[in-house]
Symmetry: C2
Subunit: 209 residues, 2 copies
DNA sequence: GGTCGTTTCAAACAGACGTTTCAATCGAGT
DNA sequence: ACTCGATTGAAACGTCTGTTTGAAACGACC
């Protein structure tokens, strides 16, 4: 039942999905949804929570002896494949992404149990990479990483039209993992920057402004 | 008429908005929409195009003698205030953002006339900053910049809940402009990286992997 | 002033939707 | 075997939607 509802809500959204089609998919009667869940909105909430429970969990933490840089690379790779899932997203991932852009009452539990743990692990990695920075900076850095990853999913249709389907297809998960990781590490001074063959380039140019 | 439709579509979305309240807002009769535009979908398309025409245009190109780094800073500042518009978005900006996430037939014109020009200006700036990189890298770099900016808008509700309203409010446009510009320039080797007080830090650490 | 194409108006239509109703069915407890 | 609460079933209800209708009002032109 929740499976059928989740798939339908993920495909069509809350407004687009109808309780009739959901019940047909589940082989249930129309009245079952109101009997078991009350109304359509509560069914949606339960479907979102079900998507979180049955969806891909967070990969276990790395050993403490791997470098923060490697840690970040693994985080980005896992985020791109488990949350963004550009290639073949499951309905769990699609539905949770929908809830991120258009939050409902289910978003509170989703933030608490799925989003915040991921976010704090990322913040922890960045804190290890930038020991001196304050909380505001760590938050902004975390959003910079997550924003880069989510962008390919949230604006996929437009981005694909923007650069062409072939060029967009060449931005495959492996390349993006490399790119986002290196982009971030370079911004943090842990990898050689783009656009320069030598690191002396860094000190030759002045700081911004 | 298009004004009323645009405001309503921006607030409620295509499905949420009804032709009745649009006509009420515009002081028009219900049949006017079908007489002038054919149906609701074509009205929406015209409203999106109207939003693009009357919305904030792209600021003029910088002089050729300002540095690419300054150019990037102006681009990010303009993008955050004209496209993202975290503080007080007009319905034009909201409607075009909706069209980015949920594209309709109007998206083709929107990409051609509004999005691609902005994107190519950004690509041009990044190309000047990274003379050696190929097209794929420039595209990924452009998406990294745009993704950082749009993230605060597209996942605003969730991000606000994630870090708390006060902390989210501290990420004001000035701070974000600074952060995203510096983050990007540091990744490109044009600004000192985060997490290190001295530039020698860069060469002390090894490259990734 | 009359005429004709254009625009406005109130009303209604047809369909889809979430929800409700109430009788039928089931299943465990005694 | 009976009973009673829980569940399922088909049908209908009420509402809201986009769309259509046909008459009325308007405005320029001869």
């Amino acid at each position: 039942m929740l499976e059928a509802a989740g798939e339908e809500f993920a495909e069509k959204g809350f407004d687009g999905a109808t309780v009739r089609v959901i019940c047909d998919r589940a082989g249930m009667n129309l009245a079952a949804v109101n009997y078991h869940f009350g109304d359509k909105e509560q069914l949606y909430e339960q479907a979102v929570l079900h998507a979180h429970r049955c969806g891909p969990g967070m990969p276990p933490a790395e050993d403490a002896n791997v470098s923060p840089a490697e840690d970040l690379r693994h985080y980005v790779a896992a985020f791109l494949s488990n949350v963004v899932a550009l290639q073949s997203p499951t309905w769990h991932q699609t539905l949770m992404l929908r809830e991120m852009v258009n939050p409902t009452r289910a978003s509170e539990a989703l933030v608490r149990e799925a989003i915040r743990p991921r976010f704090e692990r990322l913040s922890g990695i960045l804190r290890r990479l930038c020991p001196g920075e304050d909380d505001r900076r760590i938050q902004a850095l975390s959003f910079s990483v997550v924003g880069q990853c989510l962008h390919y999913k949230l604006t996929r249709s437009i981005s694909e039209r923007l650069v062409g389907a072939e060029a967009f297809g060449r931005l495959d998960p492996e390349y993006l993992t490399d790119h986002i990781t290196r982009f971030t590490l370079a911004a943090l001074g842990e990898a050689p920057p783009f656009g320069s063959m030598t690191e002396s380039h860094v000190s030759r140019k002045g700081a911004l402004k």
